[in-house]
């Protein structure tokens, strides 16, 4: 059950993963961009973890703290998008102490909406939007007992596979369209590594 304690555990995990893959994320980003994705992700999660003592039972409040952490410490595109998402998540979870299946679906839906709106992103642009979309579909389609962590792991990998050989059409990489066919989108790559330990 996803509550305050579970939330803290997950961000602790994410911080560990972001440290582990710090150089890989930077390197993946460096191939087509400015090479700061590892910094961006680690700084954001570090600041969240630094503030975990302020978490309350109200998950909405906690997500607001998370959003502020990303705003404060993580100014690159990825951090900005994540911050927007976390803020909008915090709005829909206001007052909630734990998450139900529908909440999780709503979280992904609000993330998709936020990224499309704020990032001017379309499905198929080869960004984290496509990964999140795949996860959401998987969650929705699963009929038996749901193993979220399993879905996260397989869908993030599947998304990477699906876009191999396709151009990245947004973010810094958009400027180097043809070149980008040969590379994974760094954000999508990062998501696939971050969920590994779930």
């Amino acid at each position: 059950m996803f509550n305050k304690d579970e939330m803290i555990k997950i961000f602790d995990e994410l911080l560990i993963q972001s440290k582990k893959y710090y150089d890989d994320f930077n390197e993946a980003d460096g191939k087509i961009g400015d090479g700061d994705l590892g910094i961006t992700i680690q700084n954001g999660f570090q600041e969240i973890v630094n503030n975990k003592d302020n978490f309350t039972d109200d998950l909405g409040y906690n997500f607001m703290l998370c959003s502020q952490a990303f705003v404060k410490k993580s100014g690159s595109s990825f951090g900005t998008i994540v911050a927007f998402c976390l803020m909008n998540i915090s709005k829909i979870l206001k007052g909630k102490k734990f998450l139900k299946h529908e909440d999780i679906i709503e979280i992904f839906e609000i993330c998709l909406k936020t990224i499309k709106e704020r990032g001017k992103t379309n499905l198929g642009d080869k960004t984290i939007l496509d990964t999140l979309d795949l996860i959401l579909n998987e969650i929705k389609e699963t009929k038996n007992e749901i193993k979220y962590s399993q879905i996260f792991k397989t869908s993030t990998k599947e998304a990477l596979e699906k876009f191999k050989g396709k151009k990245i059409l947004i973010g810094r990489a958009r400027m180097f369209e043809d070149k980008t066919k040969d590379f994974d989108d760094p954000g999508m790559f990062a998501l696939s590594k971050l969920v590994e330990s779930f």
Binding site: G30, D34, S76, T80, M175, F176
Partner: protein, 331 residues
Amino acid sequence: MKKIINEPSNFVRESIQGLVVSHPDIYSFAEDNENVITRATKASNKVGIVTGGGSGHLPVFTGYIGEGMLDACAIGSVFASPSVNQIASAIRNGDNGNGVLCIMGNYGGDVMNFEMACEIVAEEGIKTKKLIIADDIASASYEDRLKRRGIAGMIYIFKIAGSLAESGKSIDEVFDLTSLANENIRTLGVALSPCILPEAGKPTFEITEDEIEIGMGIHGEPGIKREKLRKADPLVDDLCVRLLKDIKLQPEEKVSIMINSLGSTPLEELYIISKRVNENLSKLKIKIIKSHVGRYATSMEMAGMSITILKLTEDLEKNLLSNSKCPFWTN
């Protein structure tokens, strides 16, 4: 890492404090946000000109605050966008009751954050317009030019927008002529060495002792091609050909050029480059009205340089040459 700094985490804060304390007649901290700098003396009535962006590019962005230039600036971490809150504060501080023109480089975080900040201040009754600078021809084709990165050309935009605003033009007028300037600017650069981010403590990219990268971005983003270091003249000729193909100048047209060091490339080399640019343009009977040679938009101590061409109209020329008061601009 050979830098004269204190704690890397204080790098941005301390350098901005130094800027303000060194030029108290020009710059001032905003009262409501410690990452926003405003003019020391608030303007009145004129359209506000506001920008924001990552640190590590001085004099860009904050340095260009001053009479006839910017009103306020939001300051991000090294190479990272300022937040929505910071930008909103900069807009509020830069507003003199006649609306604010927001100028930003074409980088994801900056564009998204400015957009959201504009929505927020709109609810408070501040009218804004946004101008996205996209002068770097290395970063997308002519057809896709709206996707291009913003680099040294932005200083021309600051200057022209600032001059127009100072002369009492309305926000729509300021926006329109500055947009024209934006369309008339092309930049192309070359990087020779990386810089070191204070917090990361290691180089932003790797490049061998005899290589250069044409079109590399000011954060170390990829360019057009990596090749062996050449002599200055053939290198400049190559860059000029690409620039001229993109900007399509006619004989007798007037331009201003900017030869910008990314940091450690010294003035001597910039002038060798400027000489060659001059020769190339003269051959085509293009008239250089004004040359700017120096460090205008940097990546700390990165080695390399960029060449910017601004095609002038009568209006643009007038506003380019108008008076302004800023430690990093000589009229």
